[in-house]
Amino acid sequence: MTPLLVAQLVLTLVVFVALLSSAAAMVYVERKVAAFLQQRIGPYLVGPKGLLQPLADVVKLMFKEELRPRAADALLFGLAPIISATAAFAAFAVVPFGGETTLLGVLKEPLRLQVADVNVAVLVIFAIASMGVYGIVLAGWSSNSKYSLLGGLRSSAQMISYELAYGLSLAAVVMLAGSLSLREIVTNQSGYWFYVIPKWYIFLQPIGFLIYMTAGVAETNRAPFDFPEAEQELVAGYHTEYSSMSFALFFMAEYINMVTVSAVATSLYLGGWLGPFLPDWLGWLWFLLKVFLLLFFYVWMRWTLPRYRYDQLMEFGWKWLLPAAVINLIATAALVIWLG
Amino acid sequence: MVPLNYYLVLSGVLFSIGTAGVFLRRNLITVLLSVEIMLNAVNLTFVAAGRYHGTVDGQIITFFVMTVAAAEAAVGLALVIALFRHRETLSPDAYTSLKW
């Protein structure tokens, strides 16, 4: 039980709790931002400025009755939200959110601010994103209801279609950085051009960033790609038959997937924890700022843009986004070889 | 570290489990799943042998086996769908018209 091991365990716990609170915070942020975009106030009764609203929501969800349709496959019905939530949390394990720290000299070796530093981190994120499809497919199937099945099938087909563009934009960044490890990709983005512009990959790969964010929004089933769970069309899609904590798990999984996509986007394109004025071990403040910026864009997009129809959505993914990602990859490869 | 024989024995056991599935199950999809188990057992042998020799060739062959398995699963399942349209059943005992 070296001090380093204890510190790593504590760090894992801290990250877990932080993710849980970020899901709760996102509930509040979404409702407030939606309200301001629609020129109303949003939650303001519970706690000062409505800040305790997520707490009230969680308590309400916990006290609801846990239902299950009689003809539903009990094992898969219970397993689906667990798979969704587990995949959402697991993907964040390889994201670096700060430099190394020795906790002011307490530890002999520096502790990396990351739950697991894997040298194939980019692929691990991709793998866990593919596992997240199962939660939705199983939820749609095991509910034994037509809305759920349609929503589940559409949603999973959408997710596996946009995984291609997602992976290709990741491949372009890996080509620029020369490594699959997220920590190395971030450290390759340190430094400045002309002392003013930071060497982030978003300046080298603007189209790649847009492709990644679009594919990420489609992967997390958020607007404008949320047809499979649109209220007007499909009741609630694949989580129609779920109530109480299972529904809360799906809900949480969606928000944490958003956080993970934003966190990976900041590591790949926006320089992770790098920023002026702060030392490396306080870099997690910059990281939080950048992730929050991307999450704000997520919420802004949801309440501003109309929703794609399902066939338009699939056509966009296969006929526009995938060729764009391939061309981006080829252009990046050519530039890397040409400019060395 | 565990000696190489353990990995090879495990791979053999997995291969025979897959074979048992192909012999014993009367459902086309489960037969295809058993074929996938066999392919995985072979992958394990390749990776273990590659690690034994200290080369990457084992992993590269595994890469090719996975790709071929994906292609084979796609075509196999397309065949299952086409067969299902004929006889409305997934049991391989319904497709015996070529038997003498």
């Binding site: 194939v120 | 990995y7 024995v9 489960t30 796609a74 399942l77 769908i81």
Partner: protein, 173 residues
């Protein structure tokens, strides 16, 4: 520590594979096979092959099994009757089980004739094969022809799958 992890992952792989061939419902078989793939991925990590482990999850558990799930859902496979036709009787099952048990015994016996061979415990060997750069180098220089042929194979299988499973009204036979 390594030995314990080996036994744990091996147990996961073997037990879930037995579950795959034993389960009545194909949906549960598919989920158990995914668990088996997870166990195998753990074994690959023990063998210093992290790239293969992650690729296994991405390709097998993430893509091929989703395809199987879709087909199982499409064909309503869980309502299928799984019993043998009347003419064959119980001997077919016993014969099949005997053959596969025979295969297992043969393989294990054959391997026991080889002496216990340990792995190359040089740490340089482990890092040489676990780096993705080494895999990429060899893949694109020595095996480049196989790589290109594989891409054509995937294209052919895609087109073939669409034609074979395609709907009648599209002009197919």
């Amino acid at each position: 520590m390594d030995v314990v992890s080996f036994y744990i992952f091996a147990a996961i792989a073997v037990l879930s594979s037995i579950g795959v061939i034993g389960q009545r419902n194909p949906m549960h078989s598919v989920m158990l096979l995914i668990v088996s793939f997870g166990g195998l991925a753990g074994l690959y990590i023990l063998l210093d092959a992290p790239f293969t482990a992650v690729t296994q999850i991405i390709i097998y558990a993430g893509a091929i099994m989703v395809l199987f799930l879709f087909v199982v859902m499409l064909l309503n496979a869980h309502t299928e009757d799984d019993s043998l036709p009347a003419g064959l009787g119980p001997h077919a099952l016993r014969f099949g089980a005997l053959l596969s048990a025979l295969l297992a015994v043969e393989v294990v016996w054959g391997l026991s004739r080889v002496g216990v061979t340990g792995f190359n415990s040089d740490p340089g060997a482990a890092s040489a094969i676990s780096s993705v750069a080494a895999i990429g180098q060899t893949l694109f220089t020595q095996y480049s022809f196989a790589f290109e042929v594989t891409s054509i194979l995937i294209l052919v299988s895609m087109v073939g799958a669409v034609i074979i499973a395609g709907s009648r009204t599209r002009g197919g036979r």
